[in-house]
């Protein structure tokens, strides 16, 4: 792909801009990006990422050789398992493996929010076998929300019952852990 500004050099920087819900894609070379001011375009997550990038081992090798190219570091966020880069992920719109979710974690919320009407967290099924403790955790959370609601509506008798359920579940959790050991 050629740079859309100069039409000569290959486009090495790819941006997606969302202004009032209108999505535009920008493909430019580094020279034009600097000239046209794309490089200073403030985008969520960049500053935080730049601060942190030095701390991540997978980025540290690259930081040394590209000290002056702050933007390059961002685009070279790469999954250690399948080697998918973040820019590649954005281009094809598909993850390479389950570990990508971990690798790109910092930058996924805006994407999920856009695709899933503002949601970023899973509220559905938990795998029966693999889920293990997650099931209890979710059950506890559900009971606690219920308890809160009941207290607010001053249904104390029911609240007491739910509280007992929570206790039973918490004790049971302790038992099973002890049993495992």
């Amino acid at each position: 792909m050629k740079c859309q500004e100069c039409q000569q050099r290959p486009a090495t920087l790819h941006f997606t801009r969302v202004i009032n819900g209108n999505k535009t894609e920008v493909h430019v070379c580094e020279v034009c990006a600097k000239e046209k001011g794309y490089m200073t375009y403030p985008e969520d997550g960049y500053s935080l990422h730049n601060l942190l990038s030095g701390l991540f081992s997978f980025d540290s090798t690259k930081v040394g050789s590209h000290q002056d190219h702050t933007f390059q570091q961002v685009h070279e966020l790469q999954c250690p398992k399948c080697e998918m880069t973040f820019s590649e992920f954005k281009r094809i719109g598909k993850f390479g493996c389950a570990a990508c979710y971990e690798t790109f974690a910092q930058r996924l919320d805006p994407i999920f929010r856009r695709v899933h009407s503002g949601n970023t967290k899973h509220f559905g099924k938990i795998p029966k076998r693999k889920g293990g403790d997650l099931h209890k955790k979710k059950q506890l959370e559900d009971y606690k929300t219920e308890l809160q609601d009941l207290i607010e509506s001053e249904a104390f008798e029911e609240a007491a019952q739910v509280r007992d359920k929570i206790r039973a579940l918490e004790n049971h959790q302790g038992d099973s852990e002890a049993g495992d050991n």
Partner: protein, 354 residues
């Protein structure tokens, strides 16, 4: 189960049963996307890893049964001819993507064709489960049970925060796409559907015409499905979908009554003309066939045409698709040859009803 079994019949065994609201909702489907936690997704994984997954399914599940879903047949896509692939796509047992592009692809189909698993599609595992009529909750319950059964032997890619991890961000979370296939002839004739689709889209649901390309719905058959998979439980997603489908059923029934009252003779004329075309034509294109079949089915639902089974729409819609026609003819056919064979198959099928 052998492949031949799936090839011979246009209509899947489960479709023969009449489901709730079966006059309008043809089928309910739940699709779950799942992945092995340790293997990269099919777009990036090495071929030998994907072959490993394929072979795992063959070893573990070929000829196995789970509850009502008996005698699973394991079928590697590479074993199929072009026509056989097309037939499985036309029966909605596999996706066009699996048939055409996937590497080390395979499918696992139960004898009654109610459950099919696509292996190495966009995700490692895509479970599909169908029920006749409007039965989303039942389908979800069964899909969950089947999912649990698979999970006994498979470590799914799952994360406490993000849920089931899928290749495409649009499937993450529940990995579930719930859909219903609806026959909406009265809403189509009165063009009301065109106003409803944008409103339905606003609710996070997608309406698509199935069969036929783009937005045009052949045979007034529409598929309604959820768009969002993250942040809502499967049950809530289905509740939302269900309430919209309920409303559509109500509107369709109202529109049918209205048409009968306001322009009964015109409607009757249209239905009987279509019946005539199907019964007597010698050459018929798929588009015309779909529209006539839709009208005849409406005639059956309204009690105008008697002694013809309702299934005729589902069955002939599939039977008259290009892949099935060629499977029937046992050879490749030109478009013209297909139109001739289509007409003759429809005539024969209607004769059977008498």
């Amino acid at each position: 189960m052998t492949l031949q079994h799936f090839m011979n019949e246009a209509i899947s065994p489960w479709m023969r049963e009449e489901g709730p609201d079966g006059d309008i909702v043809l089928s309910s489907r739940i699709r779950l996307a799942r992945n092995f936690s340790e293997v990269s997704y099919p777009i990036l994984a090495d071929l030998d890893k994907l072959e490993g997954i394929r072979d795992f399914f063959k070893e573990q599940y070929d000829h196995q049964s789970f509850e009502d879903y008996e005698d699973f047949a394991f079928i590697p896509i590479s074993d199929l001819t072009a026509v056989e692939k097309r037939v499985l796509v036309e029966k909605h047992l596999i996706s066009p993507h699996l048939a055409k592009h996937a590497q080390a692809a395979a499918t696992l189909i139960s004898k009654n064709e109610q459950v099919s698993v696509m292996i190495n599609e966009e995700d490692h595992i895509r479970i599909q489960l169908y029920f006749p009529g409007f039965q989303l909750n039942k389908a979800l319950k069964k899909a969950f049970e089947f999912d649990d059964w698979l999970e006994e032997k498979i470590n799914y890619a799952f994360d406490g925060t993000r849920g089931y991890l899928t290749s495409c961000p649009t499937n993450v979370g529940t990995g579930m796409r719930a859909s219903v296939m609806m026959h909406l002839p009265a809403l189509s004739m009165t063009k009301q559907i065109n106003r409803m689709i944008p409103a339905i889209n606003q609710l996070g649901l997608v309406v698509r015409g199935i069969y036929g390309e783009g937005s045009e719905a052949m045979g007034s058959i529409f598929q309604i499905s959820n768009q969002i998979t993250l942040g809502k439980s499967e049950e809530d997603i289905i509740d939302d979908l269900e309430s919209v489908v309920r409303q559509l059923i109500g509107h369709e029934r109202k529109a049918r009554n209205h048409l009968m009252e306001q322009s009964g003779t015109k409607l009757e004329d249209r239905i009987y003309r279509s019946y005539g075309v199907l019964e007597y034509s010698r050459i018929i294109e798929s588009k015309e066939a779909a529209s006539c079949l839709s009208n005849v089915r409406l005639g059956i639902d309204l009690g105008l045409i008697k002694n013809v089974s309702r299934n005729i729409l589902n069955e002939l819609m599939v039977l008259t698709q290009p892949g099935f026609l060629q499977q029937y003819a046992k050879k490749t056919l030109t478009a013209n040859e297909r139109d001739v064979l289509r007409a003759s198959l429809i005539r024969e099928r209607l004769q059977l009803e008498k």
